[in-house]
Symmetry: C3
Subunit: 318 residues, 3 copies
């Protein structure tokens, strides 16, 4: 297995099976630091650079929190408008990275353009972590999800997945690549206009991912061990925030919605329900206190996973 | 007295008399760290999360500075627009808090909605500090003011207060609740449309606060020991910043303005003048170097007070 | 030589020759910390306050990164819109500084108004570092450039400079003042409407700076040892970012452009090429891998220089 030290985390397509387990092992080892709420000294002498060209709460803050839990420093930008790089100069990724690499020891980048972190990695002397690149991938999120499954179910292999949402989204891409390394059949449920793209389906077939598609969660939930949900209702960007107020919610069609009643009547009693959040109404709040819900746990694990990745790429764990 | 460890700081209505003095005692103990400009290690292993849904300079930075003075870490957001929580998803406070609680060990929240920090506290496993909630309260500011009085005058009981400004503002609410625990008569001076709301007056009466109202500072300044001023001229939000430039200032009516001349001719020679700033022209700059002015000292104490609160709710002082 | 402890860094006009060398000596001493990517403890107990009234990437992050490399804390604001100071209150520099001085131990300020950091320094009890003030100066950038020259060429005296760009810009002002302390002839090349202002020329003459002007880089590049480039094409602010997309680039007239061909045919083989970045097209990307290019090194030195300045004004180096 290749060492993680100095390595970029760009795509889960590059991850081999034992590398997943290596990451999970380190996450499990570092987890007590987060659980006990006692920041350690592991990365005391390192700096994380956040390069967020799009606003983000969870991904940015989970990385920052992870760095703080390991005693490290954080600098960077959380919105391209706050930098000259993102504004009128429309500076190239190369020029930006040839500056950022000197401001810290690892860079986490979110970018509206697919492939931007890969371009950054070409020029950077420090590891680049992909914090979400356009329609591309979101590897750290799916690593978090798999780790949550491992912690909650004790294993990954042999579990059946149901994924609901917009299949063109980056998390779904990372999920497919990840499952190619495990024995996990998966059913995708999405509105027709948001279904898996043909080229991506071809890729999954080539990777021998055992997948099928369904048009309603009711038809696919019964034998699912892991239910991963993303929004299918997207904000209407043609309207201002005020015009949109209250109008973007409450509209997820039943086909793509996981209600408490559906869970109670159709789901396995030991299935677990994941959502990277934020949500619209695809999981109503009354599901939160049911036995299926694991998305708060997932949020906690999001910090633990980033601790593991930072410690690994910075060579702080043997 | 209840322990402060793990406790939310939401409202001064919940503070008992000896709890104020407990906070002041810790503030006084930690003050040398700030005065000597030498950050300590007291909260080295803790992280503060700033959740500011509205821009703020003093409240946010005073908390951040306090955390740094105690050697701690800081993460969070300083503007809701920079997060997905505050933008199109209009995520619920619950969903946001069930994420933020894992990013650190205490959360300071400013929100445009009254009661938002209270809602956050319902869901959070870590203490919530109210950094100002709409028209609600601003407890850490008034604790700063009371601590400033204690440090400057050597006592709180028996001093007469004059409060000038918009009485519908959150600081005034916190002030009234706080004074209910001390022997401090207070006179409120405000424009009629900004005077104390009837329900709040009823509340102050029920709490046995010794208050009266006056329509001009001249009628109330003579026997005041503490003069607390807030702006009555509010920015005209219907105009852009450029249109407003220079037009929002210089307009405070004499009734609500503390001039150098007024102080020299009418005020007690040992009265102290407080203002949480920023100001319009309600205290002209030529007052700054007079013996009455204490607002710079108040800014310093703002850091000390947040150091005390953070250390207390995080259980770092016995 | 005056001590740097507690001193403001406002203008290079105030710097004497041996003070430059003192700064360079400290930079060279601290450089290994940055090169080895191992944050130290030198400023562990200090806090840097960033007061950026205009967006900036390099200047802000280089200061933050430097503070982290020295183990220190950072707080502040990166955009005036995110503070109440910069928004509707249009708070005076004095009022803002009488707050910020308590939030940390040194303040770096970028302001759209020339002289704002000088005004801040009048009121501050902690050192102010000028991070760029309108058309005024940008001392830390030019210190970085001179340090880069020293490191790359082994000396500063006796080298011939060529400066290309908008001569009304703050970096050019700082450059002129700096060169008055060294034996460095300089040629300025700028479009007529961006040439040196008469009052600034008079000042340079008074300071005995050996300068001349030329209208084309071809006429001045042959004997240059140091070529410092800034953009002459400015973004068209009358257009939105989207309207501008791709239209602001590719338009630098040949007179002010340093191409690979020009370097290969006309420049000294050991000349070095500096640019503080971001760039438009005044240095095309194919120059990056030539022997002349030193702007990535300059970016690295930008962190080292700020480490030196922070350590000096905070009295952490003897």
């Amino acid at each position: 297995m290749r060492s993680f030290m100095g390595r970029d985390i760009l795509s889960l397509k590059e991850f081999e099976r034992q590398e997943f387990f290596r990451v999970f092992e380190i996450a499990e080892r570092l987890e007590p630091i987060a659980r006990n709420r006692k920041n350690s000294d592991l990365l005391k002498d390192k700096t994380l650079v956040t390069a967020f060209y799009q606003p983000s709460t969870r991904t940015r803050l989970a990385h920052e929190a992870a760095m703080h839990r390991l005693g490290g420093h954080v600098t960077g930008f959380s919105d391209a408008k706050m930098t000259r790089a993102g504004d009128f100069y429309q500076e190239s990724i190369k020029d930006t990275v040839k500056m950022l690499e000197f401001y810290g020891d690892v860079i986490v980048m979110r970018h509206f353009q697919q492939g931007a972190p890969h371009e950054a990695a070409k020029w950077s002397s420090v590891p680049i972590i992909n914090g979400g690149d356009g329609w591309g991938e979101h590897p750290t999120q799916i690593l978090t999800d798999l780790y949550t499954v491992l912690r909650e179910k004790g294993r990954i292999d042999g579990l059946k997945w149901l994924a609901v949402g917009d299949m063109r989204m980056r998390t779904m891409h990372s999920l497919g690549y990840a499952l190619s390394q495990f024995d996990c059949p998966i059913t995708f449920v999405a509105p027709p206009e948001m279904s898996l793209l043909p080229e991506y389906k071809a890729e999954l077939n080539q990777l021998s991912v055992n997948f099928r598609e369904a048009d309603h969660v009711e038809k696919a939930i019964a034998d699912a061990d892991v239910i991963l949900v993303e929004p299918v209702v997207q904000p209407d960007y043609t309207k201002s925030r005020d015009e949109r107020a209250g109008k973007d919610v409450g509209m997820t069609p039943a086909n793509y919605k996981i209600t408490r009643e559906l869970l109670a009547t159709k789901a396995k009693s030991d299935a677990i329900l994941l959502h990277s959040l934020p949500r619209m109404d695809e999981i109503p709040p009354d599901v939160d206190i049911t036995k299926w819900s694991r998305y708060w746990q997932e949020a906690f694990n999001g910090v633990v996973m980033r601790m593991a990745l930072l410690a690994l790429v910075l060579g702080a764990v043997e």
